[in-house]
């Protein structure tokens, strides 16, 4: 089991490359999710504020 | 013409205009866009490279790779099946470098017509295969050759009896 796992991590000697390619992708895509969801929430907050002020903006 | 139809024509002609401009531009700079020259292009003398650094691309000739003992230096021939160029290189070769593989060498020609490369890039082909599949393909190829050989022998066999 451990042998299989360390071999899996080793990736034929391409460990650095394979894991950093997947890592960068996961990082950027995670960041995209976070930013987009935050932006949607902020837009809702903007609308809420606008209408609670009685449309002063 | 309705305003909408007019806008449609405008948008389409803008795209067409840019497409034509791009086509002409790319055609005009065709030679500069070429990422590398083939040995045939070099042999024909159609390009003047003087002392310029250029890229030469082709397949590494089987059996041509000579390594200098105890050093990183390597000398090999690159071919496009018609002409070939001798390349000398001193440095670390990429993972995909091997005989029969496509490579691109970046450097300049010395006075003896040997291409002194300071960078070697390996060109990967578009085929992806599992090792077992590659093995079975090689096996099939070998058997096909054997069969051809046998057939040739059988064909010429009776002739030798005379």
């Amino acid at each position: 089991m451990m042998d299989w796992f360390s071999e899996f991590l080793y990736m034929d000697g391409f460990a650095v490359w394979v894991w950093s390619a997947f890592g960068v992708s996961a990082l950027v895509m995670g960041l995209m999710v976070w930013l987009v969801i935050r932006r949607h929430r902020e837009a809702l907050r903007l609308v809420r504020r606008y209408h609670s002020d009685g449309g002063s903006r | 013409m309705t305003p909408r139809r007019k806008r449609m024509v405008l948008v389409l002609s803008a795209v067409a205009g840019v497409a034509i401009a791009a086509t002409l531009g790319l055609k005009a700079f065709q030679e500069n866009i070429l990422y590398y020259y083939s040995p045939t292009q070099i042999a024909s003398g159609e390009i003047t490279f003087d002392d310029r650094r250029i890229r030469v691309g082709g397949l590494v000739v089987d059996g041509s790779v000579q390594r200098e003992m105890g050093e990183l230096g390597v000398v090999f021939d690159v071919t496009d099946e018609l002409e070939s160029v001798t390349v000398a290189y001193d440095g670390i070769l990429p993972n995909l470098f091997r005989e029969g593989q496509g490579i691109i060498a970046h450097g300049r020609f010395d006075d003896d017509g040997i291409f002194i490369a300071d960078q070697i890039l390996a060109k990967h082909d578009e085929n992806y295969m599992a090792p077992e599949v590659k093995e079975s393909l090689r096996e099939a190829e070998w058997q096909r050759r054997q069969r051809e050989l046998r057939e040739q022998q059988e064909y010429s066999g009776p002739g030798e009896d005379y």
Binding site: F14, W17, S25, M29, I37 | Y35, L121, Y128, M129, A130
Partner: protein
């Protein structure tokens, strides 16, 4: 087109309709997309066979190729939305284009970054001015230019029209990227799958790649809808429908 299909088309011009539709579709895209991404990652990393030449290094294909495909797909979508926005003066179409642009830019960046990480060990260089790489970099600049141009005007409508024009004419770059590997000598390999004839890749390697590509598409659809919703809310913050959205039945703000 008949009257019926035009009505269908015009409903997409209605922000509240699109907003509600997006709300209903988002969970599906999110769940299915993440499921595909997870499945394909495990499959591609652990169960697909290694390549005969690149060994396990080829597994980078599973993040590089879907990102590259999507970067082109998103651009075509952006250009179509821009054209519809210009020709039919449809506000929602402009909102779709500007909602898609940052996502497309992110996928273009990912295709360049993962390609670079693959290129260093395999080709022997992080970057080179190869036609495919150069045209893909231009795509990134087109996305950035689109966003900057859209936000450069005080008036949203002028910004929409200016950026839409750039978006539409920029579509010329898409076939250049795709065919660059066939038209010129190039370091980048020609197409493996998107070509005439059978794909030159093992089925056992291809299936996880297709699942991954589907996952990327669904992931994009999810984020696009959320981006679009945010864009519509911002643009229509004065409209009655956004008020109805944030106020309860009694008219008080939630």
């Amino acid at each position: 087109m008949g009257k019926e299909s035009w009505r269908w088309f015009h409903r997409f011009g209605s922000p509240p309709h699109v907003y509600g539709l997006a709300d209903r579709m988002v969970p599906w895209f999110a769940i299915l997309g993440l499921a595909c991404l997870l499945t394909a990652t495990v499959w591609g990393l652990a169960f697909a066979p290694p390549d005969y030449e690149q060994g396990d290094g080829f597994r980078m294909i599973y993040v590089h190729v879907p990102a590259a495909w999507l970067s082109l797909f998103v651009y075509v979508l952006l250009a179509l939305a821009s054209a519809i926005g210009l020709i039919w003066r449809m506000k929602v179409a402009h909102a779709v284009a500007i909602a898609a642009a940052p996502l497309g830019a992110a996928f273009t960046f990912l295709s360049l970054a993962t390609g670079s990480i693959w290129g260093q060990p395999m080709w022997g260089t992080w970057w080179t001015w190869d036609p495919r790489l150069t045209s893909q970099l231009i795509l990134l600049f087109l996305y950035i230019g689109f966003i900057v141009l859209n936000r450069a005007f005080q008036d949203q409508r002028s910004g929409d029209r200016a950026s839409a024009l750039l978006g539409v004419v920029g579509v010329v770059n898409v076939p250049i990227i795709h065919f660059s590997v066939d038209w010129w000598h190039s370091l980048h390999q020609p197409a493996t799958i998107a070509k005439f004839g059978a794909p030159s890749i093992d089925t056992a390697m291809l299936i996880p790649l297709l699942v991954m590509a589907l996952g990327y598409k669904l992931f994009f659809a999810w984020l696009l809808l959320r981006q679009l919703q945010a864009e519509l809310l911002q643009r229509e913050r004065r409209a009655a429908w956004t008020k109805a959205l944030v106020t309860g039945p009694g008219g008080t703000v939630k």
